[in-house]
């Protein structure tokens, strides 16, 4: 495996020795066998010359050890990349952007520090996965639901601070984040919000302190290692209904979204409603000329009578706007037997981690206005861009995160070992990013190989936003050691690396 940038063999061996002193030799990994697991096997760059390969990995057990590791990294000016559970598949996996990065693996910090049932919140460490939290709540019969992404393998902290999406009425989960503890790149520990008061009692209740709320400075950035985070949960509702609204033609995405908008804005539909292509089309067969339609998945939570009434209202609205729409629904009431909930979408919208099999993919997600024509135009635009690379496009999922916007996640196939194919995929995604940028649309989450391209789209006033991020970077992390290049934010001494 490579050396960290700028280090000699002997520096590197000293560095590893210092890491061993800090966390114990068992938790410092530098053999090829260990480091293979820190590479992104789902990257278009995997096993190519351009793949950023880690030089070592370190797994501290607690905040003090994280501080020591960060201080050591500062002394050696070694870049590190943080993994909470390091399963960021499709968006870069566990790997960083720079070759020779050290992985800071927080898997051993996996305590659920508090669950407060009365006030519906939890305080967790980075290594706590969604699945473990789900199990924890169920085994103790705690009547709280947690919003989850579809796979349960990931970390509540890692996914939430990447602006990960769930499917419940807390689907834009970052808005339910309440209080953080962060190890800054100089090794100091800081708590945000009411946590900044020693023994602050409202740390997980109230999200601000005096002055600006800064938690999102640590989301999708490289400004600090989050070591604790509060997250609001939702009380188990008395009734829950999981519903599907289906159309038969692709272009009906336009009325479908436009019909949903007032329902979502008016609070009738409250969850992160998703639209998927239906029936499911395999990769390689996607293209807008295929007939087929959409499945809009929505959920209702509350009193049984109210839930049923909302669903009836929604069906009426779709029947009026789009005769021929078909509907399906499942009503669940307390006492729930959550583990036996059948269909995967029903499980997800009840906050039960689930997962269907999926092929090798790389993801690109972007923000859209909540507007049917905008969604259709985007599909056509991305298809045109795909055709330039000999491929076709047909979208993947639209998430109505909030009543005001949608997030569209697109994926492109990768073929393990087929470098030509994967290079084409990469060029196509970069083309998607530029083509949509030219139309005033920006990405919200991309995989590591496209981070510079994504950030470059936000170019208003000579990239003032990026320059601002980098000014902050230089102040907070003067040695530029934490996750250089993450989302196109580079430390001063590496800016010439920008793609």
């Amino acid at each position: 495996m490579p050396l960290p940038p700028g280090l000699t063999e002997s520096d590197f061996s000293d560095l590893l020795e210092e890491f061993r002193q800090a966390v114990g030799s068992e938790y410092v990994y530098s053999s090829d066998e260990h480091l293979e697991g820190y590479r992104d096997g789902v990257s278009p760059l995997y096993q190519t010359d351009e793949e950023p390969v880690p030089s070592a990995a370190v797994a501290p057990a607690n905040v003090e050890e994280v501080q020591q590791v960060v201080q050591i990294a500062n002394r050696y000016r070694v870049p590190f990349w943080v993994n909470s559970t390091g399963k960021n598949f499709g968006y870069g996996g566990p790997a960083g952007v720079v070759n020779g990065t050290v992985n800071l693996d927080l898997k051993r910090m996996n305590r659920i520090l508090e669950v407060n049932e009365a006030n519906a919140y939890a305080l967790v460490e980075p290594g706590v996965s969604f699945f473990e939290m789900y199990r924890y709540l169920r085994e103790r019969n705690i009547k709280l639901w947690l919003d989850v992404p579809s796979p349960g393998w990931g970390s509540i902290i890692g996914n939430t601070i990447e602006y990960g999406l769930g499917y419940t009425d807390q689907g834009q989960r970052v808005n339910f984040l309440c209080g953080m503890e962060v190890v800054l790149p100089n090794g100091e520990v800081m708590r945000t919000g009411q946590g900044a008061i020693p023994d602050g009692v409202t740390w997980q209740h109230y999200r601000r302190s005096i002055g600006p709320r800064i938690d999102e400075l640590f989301c999708q950035t490289n400004y600090g290692v989050v070591t604790k985070m509060g997250i609001w949960l939702r009380p188990e509702p008395p009734a829950y209904m999981a519903c599907s609204i289906m159309t038969d033609r692709n272009e009906k995405i336009i009325p479908m979204i436009d019909t949903m908008r007032p329902l979502r804005l008016g609070g009738i539909i409250n969850n992160n409603a998703t639209l998927y292509r239906y029936p499911f089309v395999q990769e390689g067969e996607e293209n807008p000329d295929n007939p087929g339609g959409w499945n809009n998945r929505v959920a209702f939570y509350g009193l049984e009578g109210v839930v049923k009434q909302h669903w009836e209202h929604v069906q009426d609205a779709y029947n009026d706007a789009m005769p021929g729409t078909t509907f399906a629904s499942n009503l669940y009431t307390t006492p729930y037997d959550l583990d036996s909930l059948g269909r995967s979408p029903d499980r997800l919208m009840a906050g039960i981690p689930s997962l269907g099999a999926s092929l090798h993919k790389t993801y690109f997600s972007m923000a859209l206005p909540f507007d049917g024509q905008a969604a259709w135009d985007l599909i056509l635009l991305l298809d045109e861009a795909s055709k330039r690379h000999g491929r076709r496009y047909f979208g993947m999922a639209h998430h109505v995160e909030t009543p005001h916007e949608m997030v569209t996640t697109s994926s492109a196939l990768l073929k393990p070992g087929d470098d030509d194919y994967n290079q084409t995929t990469m060029r196509m995604i970069k083309d998607w990013i530029v083509s949509t940028g030219e139309k005033g649309l920006g990405p919200y989450r991309v995989s590591t190989p496209y981070m510079d391209d994504a950030m470059a789209q936000f170019s208003f006033n000579d990239h003032r936003l990026r320059r601002f991020y980098e000014e902050l970077k230089d102040v907070i992390d003067p040695n530029g050691i934490m996750a250089p290049g993450k989302n196109g934010i580079w430390p001063r001494h590496m800016r010439e690396n920008r793609a």
Partner: protein, 190 residues
């Protein structure tokens, strides 16, 4: 694949304690016996169910664990615990995504994926179209990786691919090639 027979012969020679005769399998018959070093074989029954495989697993004393696309759940419920002894060897026939996920789970417990084959089976012809070893195994891992190849071969030949399972439907609903990954994880020796 040209070196597969050599590996099989290697295995046949080294087969000792837990040897399992696989009489129904022509290649195995040629080689005599196949030893299985896997303690657990995970099979995603939506894509990888295969009677021959289960029979061999059972006969060798390996525990055959059936999943339905829920590998993460099974990992947290049981497989992770099984790895705590740092000697359990686990093989799997799952989706390629689950194979990648397993690589990351293995990392968390000081294991590594020592062998992996990605297999693509054409939905219409039932023909195996791709079969590629993802890693170069270390000498100490060679036997495990070879056994995996052997098992994959058995999988593909002992009970013919069920064309009906992947029969083409209407254009928009047609199945593409079935992607299957076979993998094995084992503890990293210090």
């Amino acid at each position: 694949m040209s070196d597969l027979l050599d590996r099989r012969q290697f295995l046949a020679k080294s087969a000792a304690s837990v040897s399992v005769p696989i009489l129904a399998h022509p290649l195995a018959a040629a080689a005599g016996q196949v030893r299985l070093s896997f303690d657990i074989i995970v099979v995603d029954e939506r894509i990888g169910a295969n009677e021959g495989l289960s029979r061999v697993a059972r006969a060798s004393g390996a525990q055959c664990l059936s999943i339905r696309g829920d590998l993460p759940r099974v990992w947290f419920d049981s497989l992770r615990g099984a790895c705590l002894d740092r000697s359990t060897v686990i093989a799997g026939f799952t989706s390629d995504l689950d194979s990648e996920v397993m690589r990351a789970f293995a990392r968390d417990v000081g294991y590594r994926q020592v062998g992996r084959l990605d297999i693509s089976i054409d939905g219409e012809t039932g023909r195996e179209t791709v079969r590629r070893s993802m890693y170069s195994s270390l000498p100490s891992e060679f036997a495990l990786a070879s056994e995996l190849e052997n098992l994959v071969d058995l999988y593909l030949t002992s009970s013919p691919w069920q064309a009906s399972r992947v029969a083409p439907g209407p254009t928009s609903d047609r199945h593409g090639p079935t992607q299957l990954a076979a993998w094995v994880i084992a503890p990293i020796r210090a």
